[in-house]
């Protein structure tokens, strides 16, 4: 029987919701799994997991705060951490779709901070309408170029992007140090920092920049959550549209799936590789610019210890390469980051525990431990000695599993 009938019949909305639920089940389960194992580790080392998690919860989402922390502030902090993670996460996820592994988000972010700072400092007197866009764009462009080096090398000489992006990370770090220590961006004096960018170059915070205004019992200026959040969300949206709604996105996905098929389809490898890296770099560079314009208002040595670009790899993977997933994963990591500090100051448990938790989450999402456990329960359909080939993170490279819910619009 031809399947015409099947195809013709319009689908109910239900599957979409179902897909969402199923989509979220695995990540949430993994988080749960991570916290259980993490708790065990804490307990094994003679501390009280509940204290630890209370601190995490408070610092992360402002719940169950025991020692007078300000809930709103904790949430604000978590978001501030999440903002660059979203953009860098996207910057890792896009090349992934083309079969390229961009370990260079960190270097691209730094390139962004350097360019943004340079512009923000040199043209400090320009009006906001010109300067702010200039700062953001220069950051994006710098990031794009930095990644572009890796892209061009890959497309022309075939140099492996993993190597080149790692190298570019280090190159960026040292360039940054040079710029602010004895280099052109260092103002007179001995400080390892750039001059601050002009006040016109700054991204406004959501709350008025006035310590007289009291919000949730604290001066408004304490809440650093800034309009970069909007930029980040837009970036994620752009990523989704680019990937699933444009011809370029189609070609990127095709290239990532099969070089042969891509060539057959008239996809220019060279061009696609380069373009993909350029766009990816732009996202990271933008993240750097947003950090400068929204949070730091200048470049200091702290960027030498910055790890956003590396955390972003985890975020992209945890988000299964989908825009929504990346945003959620970034928020989770932001919350863990913020929560870790509170956990340490409240419970005296090293904030490095959050790294352990992040790793455990990745493990279980990648390996789909829960799926395996569930399958071991007798009577569950499809019980196998080995788990199904489509463990969520494997889905990074297997298309449809990661197609966003609205994909169902394209295909039945």
């Amino acid at each position: 029987m031809g399947t015409g009938a099947v195809v013709a019949r319009p689908r109910r909305r239900l599957p979409v919701i179902g897909r969402l639920v199923r989509g979220l089940a695995a990540p949430l389960g993994s988080v749960l799994f991570a916290f259980v194992v993490g708790g065990a580790i804490v307990f094994a080392t003679g501390a009280n997991p509940l204290d630890a998690y209370q601190g995490l919860l408070c610092g992360g989402v402002g719940l169950a705060c025991a020692q007078g922390e300000n809930s709103a502030l904790q949430i604000s902090n978590s978001i501030v951490y999440a903002i660059p993670l979203i953009m860098c996460g996207v910057s890792v996820a896009l090349p992934f779709r083309a079969g390229l592994f961009n370990i260079g988000a960190e270097g691209q972010l730094l390139a962004g901070t350097m360019a943004a700072t340079a512009v923000g400092v040199h043209f400090a007197e320009w009006p906001t309408v010109v300067l702010l866009p200039a700062v953001l764009i220069s950051g994006a462009v710098a990031g794009a170029l930095w990644a572009g080096i890796a892209g061009v090398l890959k497309a022309t000489t075939g140099a492996h992007e993993v190597v080149t992006t790692i190298m570019l990370n280090y190159a960026a770090q040292w360039l940054l140090r040079y710029l602010i220590i004895g280099g052109p961006l260092q103002p007179p004096g001995e400080f390892s920092a750039s001059a601050p960018i002009g006040s016109n170059a700054r991204l406004p915070t959501f709350l008025p920049n006035d310590s007289a205004v009291i919000v949730f019992g604290l001066p408004a200026t304490v809440y650093r959550v800034h309009t970069g959040l909007i930029i980040a969300i837009v970036a994620a949206a752009v990523f989704a549209v680019l990937l699933w709604r444009t011809s370029l996105g189609y070609e990127i996905r095709a290239l990532g799936q099969s070089q042969k098929a891509a060539r057959y389809a008239g996809v220019s490898m060279r061009r696609t590789i380069i373009v993909t890296m350029l766009i990816a770099g732009a996202f990271s560079g933008l993240a750097g610019a947003v950090q400068i314009a929204g949070v730091d208002h200048g470049m200091t040595d702290k960027y030498f210890s910055d790890t956003t670009g590396f955390d972003a790899i985890a975020v992209a993977l945890l988000g299964l390469g989908s825009a929504l997933g990346i945003v959620l994963a970034a928020v989770l990591f932001g919350a863990l980051h913020s929560g870790g500090a509170v956990m340490q100051s409240d419970a005296g448990i090293s904030s490095n525990l959050v790294l352990v938790l992040q790793a455990l989450i990745l493990f279980s999402i990648a390996a789909n431990f829960l799926g395996a456990i569930v399958r071991q329960i007798p009577g569950v359909r499809g019980r196998r000695s080995a788990p199904p080939s489509g463990a969520p993170a494997t889905a990074l490279v297997t298309e449809s599993a990661t197609a966003p819910p609205d994909e169902s619009a394209v295909s039945t």
Partner: protein
């Protein structure tokens, strides 16, 4: 949880929060010293529960500590203590200056103290806040004293090979580091004009192997005194000295234990500074602005450690000369520079 320390002391009067820089608490260097200072003052709080340090409860305060994993955490970590109504929030490290300035400005009725710096704006200009105490060291003094030892030993031909070359291994080229090196070079050249001073940087405060590498290079070029100014990383430099049978100088704390080659350490008593700041608040003698820690208040200086390679102590005349220099500096008769002199 928190464990009350020895005996039933009355419940603590004040709450003090310490925020480390990205070096972390196990940096075997000044973050650790700051923690020691807090522990000396605290009778309860996480500083006591984390273990390793005995809380002697000297000032019966509640001492909590938080490590900053990345520079992004400075502001939030400081702010959290402020919002929780701590009486004193201590930021540890030169790199935290802008963060301190930002937060201190927002919480005028909370007291802040920063080690190695000021509460500044983004361009490192001191905001001169009435609630910010700047704990600054004259590292160049301590540097000068060990520098003098090196120079005098060279002059007296009591150095391993008398190459008349000495070295300093810095972490990163930032003021607190360069102050040390400035004094070191200045004094060495003063007592022994012929001496050659090699200055190198590991670009790292943690990775001991890197300081070892830089030190080995200097030793390879004749250096027979290695002054480490790189925190935990510098321990590598001291080992390099030990393995090459030349002398090493410790930094910040007394590093006699780090390696047998350490004949002296240049001291920077961060613990004293931290304790002093807490004391000031406890005794409501909090004084904002610069608080210089120097030979004056015995917070800098030097400490003789292991004997010379021939097992003898530092010759009395040399020790006398060094102490004389210390006295002159204390009296102001001599002032070591705080930027590295260019010979």
């Amino acid at each position: 949880g928190s464990t009350p320390s020895a005996g039933g002391t009355p419940s603590p009067t004040l709450k003090v929060g310490l925020v480390t820089d990205t070096g972390g608490l196990n940096d075997q260097s000044f973050n650790h010293l700051a923690a020691v200072g807090l522990a000396k003052a605290a009778s309860t709080g996480t500083i006591c529960s984390v273990g390793g340090l005995q809380c002697s409860g000297g000032l019966n305060v509640k001492g909590d500590v938080v490590e900053s994993k990345t520079g992004d955490e400075y502001v939030p970590n400081l702010t959290n203590f402020a919002t929780k109504g701590y009486d004193l929030v201590i930021g540890n490290g030169f790199l935290m200056q802008p963060a301190m300035g930002t937060v201190a400005k927002q919480f005028p009725n909370i007291k802040f103290a920063i080690v190695d710096g000021y509460c500044t704006d983004a361009s490192f200009n001191d905001l001169k806040l009435s609630n910010c105490m700047d704990l600054l060291f004259k590292e160049q003094e301590s540097g000068a004293l060990v520098g003098a030892i090196a120079g005098l030993l060279e002059k007296a031909h009591k150095a391993p090979k008398n190459t008349n070359v000495i070295g300093a291994v810095g972490g990163v080229s930032i003021p607190p580091v360069n102050h040390y090196i400035a004094g070191y070079k200045w004094a060495a050249e003063m007592v022994d004009p012929g001496v050659k001073v090699l200055v190198g940087y590991s670009n790292d405060f943690n990775a001991a192997d890197k300081c070892k590498g830089v030190a080995n290079s200097q030793i390879g070029h004749g250096a027979e005194f290695i002054f480490q100014v790189a925190g935990g990383c510098g321990l590598g430099a001291l080992q390099a000295a030990g393995q090459a049978k030349v002398y090493g100088f410790g930094v910040d704390a007394d590093q006699k234990g780090a390696d047998a080659s350490v004949i002296a350490s240049a001291l920077k008593k961060v613990d004293v500074a931290v304790y002093t700041a807490i004391q000031a608040v406890v005794q409501s003698k909090f004084a904002s602005g610069e608080n210089r820690f120097s030979l004056q208040n015995d917070a800098t200086g030097y400490q003789l450690d292991n004997p010379l390679s021939d097992g003898t102590q530092l010759p009395a005349d040399i020790k006398a000369a060094v102490d004389k220099l210390a006295a002159d500096i204390k009296s102001g008769a001599q002032t070591p520079p705080d930027t590295i002199p260019t010979t």
